[in-house]
Amino acid sequence: MIARPAARTARALSSLLAVAGCLTAPLLLPSAAWAAGVDDGAEPGDGLSVLETLLWFVGAPLALFAVIAVLVSAPSMARGPRYRPALGWWAAPVWFNGPDDADTAVRRAVPTSGGGGASARW
């Protein structure tokens, strides 16, 4: 189905309005409540200063974001780089159950025939 340009624009506009409405509604609601004036018995304290506002509404979310980011990435950072087949190899050679002096042994070694085995790649 091919939507006509005008219809598509109208649909995009309406969805934009819906999103904007969802985002601004919470901001408008409290102001509407405040517009009615202070309730009986309410004793509002001092307003927040600019610095305090920034601290609570910008600093605190950022700090929370940082804490969660650290919690998510800390385990893999502690574990170190992990082998992934496409990303090559970085580590020094490891030889389990190998000769004591590997370099000398490999230099002096003379391969003999008669052995067997298999090769594979992945």
Binding site: W89, N97, A102, P111, G115, A120
Partner: protein
């Protein structure tokens, strides 16, 4: 051998345990090399196998090059009767299927155990009685 940062201590332990099991249960000496195999990987693996010295003839070398994505299984002339080329190929396939998923240590451990399984000679019973 000095262990690089290729494996975590726990992964190293897994590989070492598999090698020890192969030795204990099947009397199969297995050596595992993980690193680059320069040039012709088969020739390099044969050279590494020969470097095992006097034990080479009855040893199996598993050489893994994670960068080039190659695995070579080299069996000495004496051990080839117990671990034939078909069994070596099966062990290599066992390893590569784990390597594809990024499990280097686990693949090596299961490959070594597969080799040991094939080399296992069950004790023959009732041979002494007529």
């Amino acid at each position: 051998m000095p262990a690089g940062d290729a494996f975590s201590p726990r992964q190293q332990e897994d590989v070492v345990r598999a090698i020890r099991l192969a030795q204990q249960q099947s009397q199969l000496p297995v050596s595992v090399y993980v690193g680059t195999l320069d040039g012709d990987s088969r020739a390099t693996a044969l050279q590494l196998h020969a470097a095992l010295g006097a034990a080479a003839a009855e040893s199996v070398l598993v050489a893994v090059d994670p960068g080039a994505r190659r695995v070579e299984v080299v069996t000495g002339p004496d051990v080839r009767r117990r671990v034939d080329d078909r069994a070596a190929a099966l062990a290599a396939m066992t390893m590569t299927s784990a390597f594809q998923a990024g499990d280097l240590a686990g693949g090596i451990a299961s490959g070594v155990l597969a080799l040991a399984e094939h080399a296992h000679v069950p004790p023959s019973l009732h041979t002494g009685s007529p």
